[in-house]
């Protein structure tokens, strides 16, 4: 069954200490003309995944501003989610053999949800492709519909995109995480960055004792430089490349490498990649390969905070929010110039970009040799996140969008 999710209250004033009272006052001022007006967020999952994680925090903050906001989750059977997963991969450019039956399943579930969900808010925000065909429920001229696309559509499977385009083009606007991810569309397209929550367990301040405890648990030496990449064990995150970069750095610096990611036990491909990583590590006692539980925000937080340098050497990336997580913690970051990473890492200002194993190693060596520059990059990175990639900024962007849409009518 489709459901309306209840969310836990998050006092907006809790953010004032981090951001300043003026920023909160500003949110209230922008929200004033929208008080009591109805908003619906619709996605396809209540838990797991970045979208649910963001809505879990965004919706209660919008409620704090007296917006009449609801979060609806569409329902679907296994067959629907198999189809949408294959669509998701195809939209990322993976091979896909279009079957008429897939499109029929997609449409049937959207139709069923159209009947079940009360899609009558003044502003309806549909997240990702799964519920995109709900636009058929729109009554002419009655409300504003926008589509938030969290995936990279730069090289989509033609057949799948052409099918979705017939729905997307009927929205009042579409939002993408990077200009690079967008398509040529007949509707306005807006830039909407993903966001992190500075008060969540993954990003909040931690006691030094807790960080020390985590390092002890994973046998990491706090007295030597720690290089860290937090990522699932996926070839696109290039963990083997990270080890190769570390080996180059190791010739010059007595450092350690931490590769930490979600457990690979329920992911067959992840398990294979993990084996490749362990083989490449070859028993080096200074390489810690850590399989974290599926939800381990405090451990991730502690490992990032303990790091000397955070690495994100992806070969391909969505937005790569782990970069913002590290920057928020004032960590110098060396990352690949792929996906949304260059938006977060302004080269030589908020971090260093690299394009190869050798380049990654060189940038790490440079930062280890110049800790004052590393510290400055971390400081600037923190400010960059504060200005652009926090949940409060995302809320502000939504308020601005709703005000713009309201003005246009």
């Amino acid at each position: 069954m489709s459901e309306t999710l209840a969310v836990t209250r998050i006092p907006l004033d809790d953010y004032a200490e981090l951001l300043g009272a003026g920023e909160i006052e500003e949110l209230r001022a922008l929200a004033k003309p929208l008080r009591g007006r109805s908003i619906q967020m619709v996605n396809s999952t209540a838990v797991g995944g970045g979208v649910a994680e963001i809505l879990m925090r965004l919706v209660p903050l919008a409620e704090e501003l007296d917006l009449n906001i609801k979060w609806e989750v569409m329902s679907g059977g296994e067959d629907f989610f198999e189809v949408t997963k294959s669509f998701h991969n195809a939209l990322h450019g993976a091979p896909y053999h279009a079957r008429q039956r897939d499109f029929e399943i997609f449409l049937a579930y959207n139709e069923r949800n159209r009947a079940a969900l009360p899609l009558d808010a003044e502003f309806v925000v549909i997240h990702d492709p799964q519920p995109s065909a709900l636009i058929d429920a729109r009554k002419p001229g009655s409300n504003h519909w926008v589509w938030r696309c969290h995936i990279d559509l730069s090289h989509p499977h033609r057949g799948v995109w052409d099918f979705l385009d017939t729905f997307v083009s009927r929205y009042d606007g579409a939002m993408f995480s990077s200009p690079e991810f967008s398509r040529q569309l007949p509707i306005p397209q807006y830039l909407f960055y993903p966001a992190i929550d500075p008060l969540s367990e993954k990003n909040c301040d931690l006691e030094p004792e807790f960080i020390a405890q985590i390092l002890t648990r994973y046998q990491v030496d706090p007295h030597r430089p720690i290089l860290t990449q937090i990522s699932r064990f996926d070839r696109l995150k290039d963990p083997v490349g990270v080890i190769r970069a570390y080996r180059i750095v190791k010739r010059y610096f007595d450092c350690q490498l931490v590769l930490a990611g979600g457990s690979a036990s329920d992911d067959p491909e992840g398990a294979i990649v993990l084996k490749e990583v362990l083989r490449e590590a070859d028993g080096d006692p200074d390489i810690r390969v850590i399989e974290l539980p599926a939800w381990a925000p405090l451990e991730v937080n502690a490992l990032q905070r303990a790091s000397t340098i955070v690495i994100q050497k992806s070969l391909r990336e969505g937005f790569g929010l782990t970069v913002s997580e590290a920057l928020w913690k004032k960590k110098p970051v060396v990352a690949s110039a792929v996906g949304g990473i260059p938006i977060q890492i302004i080269h030589k200002h908020t971090g260093l970009l690299a394009h190869s194993v050798e380049g990654t190693a060189y940038q790490i060596r440079f930062l280890l040799s110049h800790p004052e520059i590393a510290a400055k990059l971390g400081e600037h990175g923190h400010e960059h996140v504060k200005e652009n990639f926090l949940i409060t900024q995302k809320l502000k962007r939504y308020l601005t969008l709703f005000l713009t849409l309201a003005r246009s009518s």
Binding site: K32, P33, P179, T350, N388, L401, T404
Partner: protein, 228 residues
């Protein structure tokens, strides 16, 4: 403000200063550039809102960078085409010198056009990453706070968000069509504090962050208040 017997007495402005904030939505345009020549074509044809976004607005959203970050065009030329000399020329264009987007666009095109004409082989080289032209869609909101005296003005200023400060101090130059900002304009016209207004207008927005600009402004106001 007027002087009597060597002391300074503060005026109350007839027209209050109304504190406002601003928020920008970034609209993704349909133009992008892979080479310097394409960047020039884009600059010639993009909307005024796009020029504003990549110069004025980017200065606000990257205000914490005070070492060499000036506008998106210069940053792209530096990071993605490796043309340091051209990047420096583009970065040197100071938005305080302009009261219209047309004039700023004209100078951006002139600098880039001269380079492309002088080095046609560089102009055709592919960049590491494409440049995407975007536009700013502006929404303003009154903060419900106003000032008639210097004390009230200082209080409002101290509580202003970054965006609000940016709106009054940086983007106001285009709105006023004067080479000044909202604060200086009101300090001069509303309170008659011309010297203070001039000092405020001389705060360098490229080598200061919004926070350090505000701190300087507050110090200047405090110095003025001590005269009373």
């Amino acid at each position: 403000m007027f002087r009597k017997g060597g002391s300074v007495r503060m005026n109350t402005a007839e027209t209050p200063f109304e504190f406002v904030t601003v928020s920008y939505l970034t609209r993704i345009g349909n133009q992008s550039a892979d080479t310097l020549a394409e960047l020039l074509t884009g600059l010639e044809n993009c909307s005024d809102a796009s020029i504003f976004h990549h110069t004025y607005q980017t200065l606000g959203s990257h205000h914490f960078l005070t070492e060499g970050f000036s506008n998106d065009f210069a940053q792209w030329v530096l990071a993605d085409t490796n043309r340091n000399d051209l990047a420096e020329q583009l970065a040197a264009l100071d938005i305080r010198d302009y009261v219209s987007i047309a004039a700023l666009r004209s100078d951006l095109c002139r600098v880039l056009g001269d380079f492309c004409a002088g080095f046609p082989h560089f102009a055709r080289q592919s960049a590491l990453e494409r440049f995407y032209f975007c536009e700013s869609v502006e929404v303003t909101a009154p903060l419900g706070r106003s000032a008639r005296t210097l004390d009230e003005f200082r209080d409002g200023l101290a509580h202003l968000s970054h965006a609000g400060f940016y709106f009054h101090f940086i983007s106001s130059r285009l709105r006023l069509q004067l080479q000044t900002n909202d604060f200086s304009h009101w300090l001069s016209d509303g309170l008659g504090l011309q010297t203070l207004a001039d000092s405020v207008n001389h705060i360098d927005i490229y080598t200061n962050t919004l926070d350090s600009s505000r701190a300087k402004l507050l110090r200047l106001i405090d110095r003025e208040r001590r005269k009373t």
